[in-house]
């Protein structure tokens, strides 16, 4: 189980890295999906080790939330692109001044 958790934490940290260093809205969204999946792997590995089934049920709910989030996030990306002509998140600065 430790090996699975270490792989999951590695993928999670790579996803966090992507969220921090990239400025493309769509790549940031994909890094978020990566983090979701790392959490899923942790859930499945832990519930496999502890002989439980709750972790596997949680994974299904996480997938549902990720699907809803994908619809909303891509809607935001399209609206943003229509407004600005790019998906660079540095252009989202209306609240700055």
């Amino acid at each position: 189980m430790d090996n699975y958790l270490i792989v999951a934490s590695m993928i999670f940290c790579i996803g966090a890295l992507g969220v921090i260093i990239r400025k493309n809205l769509i790549v940031i969204f994909m890094s978020l999906e990566l983090m979701f999946n790392a959490a899923n792997l942790g859930f499945v590995a832990a519930s496999n080790r502890l002989n439980l089934i709750s972790g596997d049920i949680f994974v299904i709910f996480v997938i549902v939330v990720a699907a809803a989030e994908a619809a909303i996030a891509l809607g935001i990306a399209i609206a943003f692109y229509r407004e600005k002509g790019t998906v660079d998140i540095d252009m989202a600065n209306e609240l700055k001044n």
């Binding site: 430790d2 790579i14 049920i57 709910f61 909303i72 891509l74 809607g75």
Partner: protein, 167 residues
């Protein structure tokens, strides 16, 4: 099983790194699909074939097709050249390395819990993992299941509102 674990973890971590570092978002999306397939392989090793199928159907099938569709709707030559600053990269690498070190320290030093449930490998194999998940989902977790349907409904309305011309 051990060899398969290392193969899948290599593919997953390599493709995750490629998702983050590739300049073209379409390449990132295809590497992300590869990463999802490797994670589905982990679920098969862990005796959850139903979740592996869900992973491929919903993530690699539905969500990634949506992402690729949106990338192709946008002008790809204009969104390819979005560069990030150097100090942003340095801070990001530092933060994620520290986070990884903390998580690994916690995993190694944390108290190991004993297996407490009744769903051993043999039991799940005897009943079948789809039936176990279905029974739990529709008995103990029926309220979250219904709330998930409301969430999906709200997401449909939200996506419609965002994609409209004017708010």
């Amino acid at each position: 099983m051990e060899a398969l674990f290392y193969v899948f973890s290599f593919i997953a971590i390599f493709s995750a790194l490629m998702v983050v570092t590739m300049r073209n978002p379409l390449t990132s999306a295809l590497y992300l699909v590869l990463c999802f397939f490797a994670l589905a392989g982990f679920y098969v090793i862990l005796d959850m074939q139903f979740l592996a199928a869900m992973q491929i159907l919903v993530y690699a099938g539905a969500i990634m097709v949506l992402v690729v569709l949106v990338i192709m709707l946008l002008n790809i030559s204009r969104i390819k050249n979005i560069k990030s600053d150097l100090h942003q990269k340095i801070i990001g690498v530092l933060i994620s390395l520290i986070l990884f070190a903390e998580i690994v320290l916690y995993i190694i030093n944390g108290a190991q819990k004993r297996p407490s449930g009744i769903f051993t490998h043999a039991l799940i194999k005897r009943i079948g993992n789809t039936q176990v998940i279905g029974e739990f989902l529709f008995t103990g977790y029926i309220l979250p299941f219904e709330i998930a349907s409301i969430l999906l409904f709200v997401a449909i309305i939200g996506a419609y509102l965002f994609a409209k011309k004017k708010f």
